[in-house]
Amino acid sequence: MTRSPAQRRPAPARARGEAAPDEGYAGLARVQRVAAAVVDPEIPVLTLEDLGVLRGVERRKGRIVVQITPTYTGCPATHAIRLAVEAALAEAGFADAVVETVLSPPWSTDQITDEGRRKLQAYGIAPPPRGARARTLFGSETVACPRCGATETTRISEFGSTPCKALWRCGRCAEPFDYFKCL
């Protein structure tokens, strides 16, 4: 979701190269593409777009501002993501772009895209069900094994290798697996 700059200007001639500060809307669209393609440092199959943490790109007082939202408040990946976005933008010619953290509305696993869910599954991480947070948190959870699809699975630990994951085991293929828990 790209926010329009306050004063949209027509795209100028590309005399000064793609990263020219007055590039306007087309430039912001490219910033959006570059930022969206950055991958999560802890789940490297997911891009920021898949994860749903990219909140907007805008030009403010002449600077490009990219807004991201943290998943868990204490997630160390937030800082790494910020650095990765700045590095990717610098490489694409937007050296003065700044990354800003926004909290509201709070991130939820419902913001992970369908493509993101498919990638998680293929990577061996059971994706979170949509819109099921209240039920899964306080009722019984049914989590399908990402390897064999069986639903005879049990939770080994509520907390896994990162704040967003729990550790489960499949009763059919006996493999342990990560489950991206609902938030």
Binding site: G74, P163, L183
Partner: protein
């Protein structure tokens, strides 16, 4: 560590938006919430590497991380309210014991695993409904921090409750330890509901949460968990107090010395 919520050009949420409460109570309120989260987060992190099982080691580290994350957001905001350029690091590492206004419950030593879980249940069972109420605060920034924290605290309540039930309804040894833990901690539960004049003014302005209104939800969670654990709620007793005024037990000072030593030995150190 730095969390930039005040990038050039972005206006921070105005302090005391509702306009009737002065800025200082809001600073004190935000700092107290930050101190609660940081001190308990640090306590939990002391289990890292030596929890009873590997899964629990990871769980406690994750719980600690949530609390430290919440503390960072609150300290960053407190620094902005104060307006003297103090960063979240300055507030966490360069204040002395008596400047900390956390409740006494969170600074109590980890003790055994039963005590850590009982302490966490008592805290999380309060903070979950507290943040649920604070997300409707008239202060936009506190509201958005609470909206994130409430989702995390739901997991904390569940994890701590599951353990208290397992330990209470477990072996003779685990039951005795859990009973003892609740008994030792109970006198620190009164502070959860204390409000000073500044906090009452903030509550009247719709910024702070009326802590007394959280009591029914807290009691429901505690009573339901203890019933499932076949444990009795400790008898009502005299309540310890003083944390919010900076009067701490003998345990906070040594904990801060350990927590702050690196930053004080190497001022301004970063990763």
């Amino acid at each position: 560590m730095t969390t930039s919520f005040s990038e050039p050009g972005r206006e921070p949420a105005p302090a005391g938006k509702a306009g009737t409460a002065p800025a200082m109570p809001l600073l004190a309120y935000t700092l107290a919430l930050a101190d609660d989260a940081l001190v308990l987060g640090h306590r939990l992190s002391q289990w890292s590497g030596k929890a009873p099982t590997l899964e629990e080691d990871i769980a406690l580290s994750n719980l600690a991380l949530d609390l430290i994350g919440q503390a960072r957001l609150l300290y960053a905001y407190a620094g902005e309210i104060e307006g003297k350029g103090r960063s979240e690091d300055d507030l966490a590492y360069l204040r002395d014991e008596h400047a900390f206004t956390n409740i006494l419950l969170v600074e109590q030593p980890n003790g055994d695993f039963a005590l850590t879980m009982a302490r966490h249940l008592v805290y999380a069972a309060f903070m979950q409904p507290f943040f649920a109420a604070l997300q409707h605060s008239a202060d936009a920034r506190l509201a958005e921090i609470a909206a994130k924290a409430v989702k995390e605290m739901a997991y904390h309540v569940r994890h701590a409750a599951e353990w208290v039930i397992r330990l209470g309804d477990g072996t003779e040894e685990s039951r005795a330890r859990t009973e003892r833990a609740l008994d030792e901690l109970w006198m620190y539960t009164g502070e959860l509901f204390e409000m000073d004049e500044g906090e009452r003014a903030l509550a009247a302005a719709g910024i702070a949460v009326d802590r007394r209104a959280i009591r029914p939800a807290w009691e429901r969670t505690i009573d339901a968990t203890l019933a499932a654990a076949t444990l009795a709620r400790p008898a009502e007793r005299w309540m310890q107090s003083g944390g919010r005024a900076g009067r701490h037990s003998e345990h906070l000072g040594p904990m801060l010395a350990e927590m702050q030593v690196l930053h004080r030995a190497h001022p301004g150190v970063t990763w």
